[in-house]
């Protein structure tokens, strides 16, 4: 299980990186923490001719905030977030989610931008960012900066709105009020494994915001719009049947066991939020 031979390049800046992506005739892949790409290289499922390492680029390591949002650079690691290295858009949620991604060894290397770009349906950040209505800030070779709402970013399993020469530079997350609360629940076969089901909710009574997202559904996480509205209205935990009905409105088909696990993860996320 060794990768096929590839070239390796470490451009000195973001613009040099995007330039290289445009210029090269080779099949190129960006690598930062390598926690998803690494195994795929070793299994020879990914066979790029050129690996461009962006883990050292300072432009991707921004950590900041302004009045309305929190900014997290794309190559900030899960462990930095777990250790409280970024401002929380809502009390404690990012730390909580980060601390439950895989294992510490993975979190030390894996990055938030890499996870979003990889777009594994069962990954934690895609569902979390959906519930938080995050915006993915990108940059292309001609210097164009895009801000893509998370809802439009992930198109499906391992598919995103990123163009060939476009790189995630940072993630912007709206700040929620002090009265806001959140819930997150995932069902895994064992600690650190990819989830079988993820439920996430962010509710802010001040901003009249409520989004319930359901992840590990095989494609992009589902936003349960009607359920979000009814939970926002009633502040009550819906029963399983109601959540199942909400999930059934999506295009995806789930077998009975999967449906039950998804519904339970959503219900338990809501329990955690509403009960606070």
């Amino acid at each position: 299980m060794k990768p096929v031979s590839f070239e390796y390049n470490t451009p000195a800046s973001l613009s040099l990186t995007t330039d290289l992506l445009v210029r090269t005739k080779k099949d190129a892949k960006l690598i930062s923490g390598g926690q998803s790409l690494g195994p795929m290289l070793n299994l020879r499922l990914a066979r790029p001719e050129l690996l461009i390492d962006i883990s050292k680029l300072s432009e991707l390591k921004e950590i900041g905030e302004d009045k309305s949002k929190v900014i997290i650079g794309a190559s900030i690691t899960h462990s930095t977030i777990e250790d409280g290295g970024v401002v929380e858009p809502i009390s404690g949620m990012l730390r909580y989610v980060a601390s439950r991604i895989a294992y510490r060894a993975v979190r030390n290397k894996g990055t938030i931008g890499g996870s979003l770009a990889h777009a594994d349906p069962a990954a934690d950040w895609v569902t979390t960012m959906m519930a938080l209505s995050a915006v993915i800030k990108t940059r292309t070779s001609d210097g164009i900066i895009r801000k893509i709402p998370m809802h439009d970013f992930m198109l499906g399993a391992y598919r995103t709105a990123l163009k060939h020469d476009e790189i995630i530079s940072s993630i912007e997350i709206p700040k929620y009020s002090k009265k806001a609360c959140w819930g997150y629940h995932k069902i895994c076969r064992k600690v650190g494994e990819f989830a079988n089901a993820i439920g996430a909710i962010v509710v802010d009574p001040v901003q009249k915001y409520c989004i319930i997202a359901c992840g590990a559904v095989g494609g992009a996480p589902l936003i349960l719009q009607d359920l979000s509205e009814s939970v926002a209205r009633s502040a009550a935990v819906p029963d399983i049947l109601e959540i199942v009905l909400a999930l059934e409105t999506s295009e995806q088909q789930f077998d009975a066991v999967k449906m039950q696990q998804l519904a339970v993860s959503v219900q338990r996320a809501i329990e955690k939020a509403v009960c606070k």
Partner: protein, 781 residues
């Protein structure tokens, strides 16, 4: 502080292992060393029409056609109707499982070897795969081995008087049980490095194995070389569990290529190869009918056991060890009199079945223990009461059971009592009822077993094996500086034998284990041993070291008596010295006298010297039986099907404990693997025979977070048949967890009218059952 038998001393080998200073096969550096990668079968069953080598790599790729001077691995058995299979180290004619080796490719690095392997073109004509052993068992047209008339390596039957039990029974329990196919998952995968040593005129094979001497025997047999021309060295080995207890086809092809090319060649198994080509163990199916009276006393058991053996018979343990053990061990610690059992060892298109820690007993224990609980429910009694009453009572020891197993010593019912005490069984039912009122499902389960260990000549003979273990040998000597060297042909791959064998020598020679060096694993420097398996290390190798040390101690005393001018019987060996009351002479001076100053010794000195090799086996060949009861409490979340182990206790008896610390480690490790069997580990195949669990994202192994805090308790019932009363213990703890945990799950889910009969009891499996019962309003029993 004495470091002999019973001392709770830390493991000598851990300094090396924990500081990254161990040397595994993959750590070896050697000039001119090339790496190997295999082309493996991408399909489960098919005819090989053509293998095309790319012209530029003609000399780097070898197939079966090149290896025409090598015999297929063939494990004969003396059991009637047994069919032997030809297991070619590179596939010949047909491929019979996904992952079977077809060609070996060599290059300076593994990555380049894999590049070459990708270029080999296979023209395979697929045949329908045989994936379900119950289907393959009766199939006479689609055959794994086309020259057989069916797919049975062997079927056996044991015919007891089951009609008598049937006639008298008040209660009849009928169940089917399934256990999943598993991988053994040693931390270090398999690895082999071979080169030709021109000076010694020998093929030298470094290999990650439990049985270096047997590998030497096997390699020379199938490579058709004299054993003198083969030297096998097992360096540090990172776990074995049975996986490294057979001759692997890769050991043959790597050796052959090294000899052919004159170049050192290494193959290191990667995790994917292990999960695909090493998916080789644990898969059983049971149809079981239990007859009991109205209080739950078992009158008889009628069983049919099907083992999914895979494509080939492994050497030397054959395709039938598993079923033979299953049929013989199903009655376990229970004292019933009527038993009928049919076993089927079925060929399928899967990797060849290999005995894994516990060998068959995790399956039979699971089947029996669930049946005991089912009987208890049927007669409306507590499972632990029914269990206790059916166990062989202490007063009946020694006891010969219905299949002729000779249980030497023990108090099996007491192990249930002790486990019940440790897990606070009193009061549990009240706690359970209260939890249920709060919508929580908790349950308790017990599992009792016997562990046949260090069984010898007669038992292995009865299993029909081509090789049968006899006397285990060990060499013990004193060096000129007074330190001790122990050499054993057994091997340590995590069991701590470097420490416990030193303790055996320390016991007799009075030397601290820090001054005792234990050498194992090298056929060039150690006496012959059939190796480490069957929980035999401590009884057999330990016994041999003990015996050799005793003989050596007597010789030391004679020399010491001369130097101290007293009688040998007045000499006591302790603290590295030989004492006669208050005067003493050090072992160093005794050794010096023998090796360097013989002028200080009398002319009639014993010329056998200070080096002793002795052979040993216990006074009975039928094995000595350790035993234990495991008990678990669990909580099952009926909304997700997830089982959480709350408490887990083990009460065990393995006779004299040589090193309690190491013993506890064995219990933790074994139970962890048993929990993997119970809740997590499962190789899944699709209808085409493709394994769907080829990475660790799909094949789930429990980690520290999934394991409970084990509580351990011990008693010491010595065996009268072994040196120091020791019984084997290496496998035991892996046997019982499935029974204890699934019994606890079934106890928890009893209010929902649900019984699980299959491991692993995954959330998916448990939840499907809950949902189907909820939907139908009836049990899907």
């Amino acid at each position: 502080m004495p470091t002999g038998i019973g001392a709770r001393v830390q493991r000598q080998e851990d300094r090396r292992l924990l500081n990254g200073q161990a040397i595994f096969v993959d750590d070896i550096k050697m000039p001119g060393l090339w790496e190997a990668a295999y082309v493996r079968s991408p399909i489960a069953h098919g005819i090989i029409k053509e293998i095309r080598k790319p012209a530029e790599f003609e000399t780097r790729i070898f197939t079966a056609a090149d290896m025409d001077d090598v015999l297929p691995i063939r494990a004969e058995s003396s059991l009637p109707t047994y069919k032997a299979s030809d297991f070619h180290s590179l596939a010949t004619g047909k491929v019979r499982y996904v992952g079977e080796c077809i060609a070996i490719c060599i290059a300076p690095t593994r990555a380049e070897a894999e590049d070459i392997a990708e270029l080999v073109e296979l023209d395979l004509d697929p045949l329908p795969p045989l994936i379900d052993a119950l289907v393959a068992r009766t199939d006479h047209t689609n055959l794994v081995h086309e020259d057989w008339e069916d797919n049975l390596f062997l079927s056996t039957s044991f015919d007891g008087n089951i009609e008598e039990a049937k006639a008298k029974a008040d209660v009849v329990i009928e169940r089917e049980y399934h256990t999943a196919r598993q991988c053994m998952m040693p931390m270090e995968g398999k690895g082999t490095l071979a080169y030709w040593d021109g000076k010694a005129d020998q093929l030298v094979v470094y290999t990650s194995t439990q049985i270096p001497h047997l590998i030497r025997t096997g390699l020379s047999e199938f490579l058709q070389m004299d054993q003198g021309q083969v030297r096998v060295i097992a360096p540090d080995v990172g776990g074995g569990f049975g996986y490294k207890c057979i001759l692997q086809p890769e050991e043959i092809s790597v050796s052959w290529v090294a000899r052919k090319t004159g170049r050192p060649i290494r193959w290191t198994e990667d995790r994917r190869e292990h999960l695909v080509a090493g998916a080789n163990t644990r898969q059983h199916h049971y149809k079981l009918i239990a007859y009991a009276d109205k209080v739950g006393r078992i009158l008889g058991i009628d069983a049919e056991i099907t083992v999914d053996v895979g494509a080939y018979s492994v050497w030397p343990f054959t395709a039938c060890l598993e079923a033979s053990q299953a049929g013989g061990n199903l009655p376990g610690p229970y004292a019933f009199k009527n038993y009928r059992c049919k076993t089927y060892s079925v060929a399928t298109n899967k990797p060849p079945f290999t005995p894994y820690r516990g060998v068959a007993r995790p399956g039979v224990c699971f089947a029996m223990e669930l049946t005991i609980d089912a009987i208890a429910r049927a007669v409306g009694r507590e499972p632990i009461d029914v269990r206790r009453e059916n166990l062989v009572p202490a007063a009946a020891m020694p006891y010969t059971n219905v299949t002729g197993k000779f249980y030497d010593t023990g108090d099996y019912p007491d192990s249930v009592n002790q486990a019940a005490k440790m897990i606070e069984f009193d009061g549990f039912r009240a706690k359970q009822a209260k939890a249920l009122r709060n919508g929580r499902y908790i349950g308790i389960g017990f599992s009792t077993f016997t562990e046949q260990s260090a069984h010898g000549t007669k038992v292995f003979g009865a299993w029909g094996l081509p090789l049968v273990p006899g006397y285990e040998q060990a060499m013990v000597k004193i060096t000129p500086s007074g330190s001790i060297e122990v050499r054993s042909g057994n091997h340590s791959f995590g069991q701590g034998l470097e420490t416990t064998l030193a303790q055996m020598a320390s016991e007799w020679l009075g030397v601290d284990i820090a001054n005792i060096r234990v050498t194992m694993g090298d056929t060039g420097t150690t006496p012959y041993s059939t190796g480490a398996y069957a929980s035999r290390g401590m009884v057999m190798a330990g016994g041999a070291v003990s015996k050799a040390s005793e003989v050596l101690a007597e010789r030391v005393k004679i020399h010491a008596a001369h130097l101290l001018q007293c009688k040998p019987k007045d000499i006591e060996l302790r603290d590295g010295e030989a004492f006669n009351k208050k005067t003493s002479v050090s072992l160093k001076d005794i050794a010096k006298a023998w090796y360097l100053r013989p002028d200080r010794l009398p002319d009639d000195v014993n010329t056998a010297g200070l080096e002793v090799t002795e052979g040993y086996k216990p006074s009975i060949d039928t094995g000595v039986f350790s035993y234990a009861t495991h008990a678990a409490t669990v909580e099952v979340d009926p909304a997700t099907g997830i089982t959480k182990i709350k408490d887990y206790v083990i009460f065990e008896d393995c006779g004299r404990r040589v090193n309690p610390l190491i013993l506890e480690g064995q219990a933790y490790g074994g139970a962890a693997q048993g929990i993997g069997t119970a809740l997590y580990e499962e190789v899944i195949y699709d209808a085409a025979g493709q394994p769907l669990t080829s990475t660790l994202a799909d094949y789930i192994v429990p980690g520290p977070n999934e394991l409970p805090d084990f509580k351990l308790g011990h008693s010491e019932t010595l065996s009268p048949y072994t040196r120091h009363g020791i019984k084997g213990v290496g496998e035991g703890a892996a046997i019982a967890p499935s029974g204890a945990i699934v019994n606890a799950i079934n106890d928890a889910l009893r209010p929902l009218n649900i019984e699980i009969h299959q491991v692993p009891a995954t959330p998916h499996r448990v939840l499907s059952k809950i949902l189907s019962v909820q939907n139908e309003g009836v049990s899907s029993e």
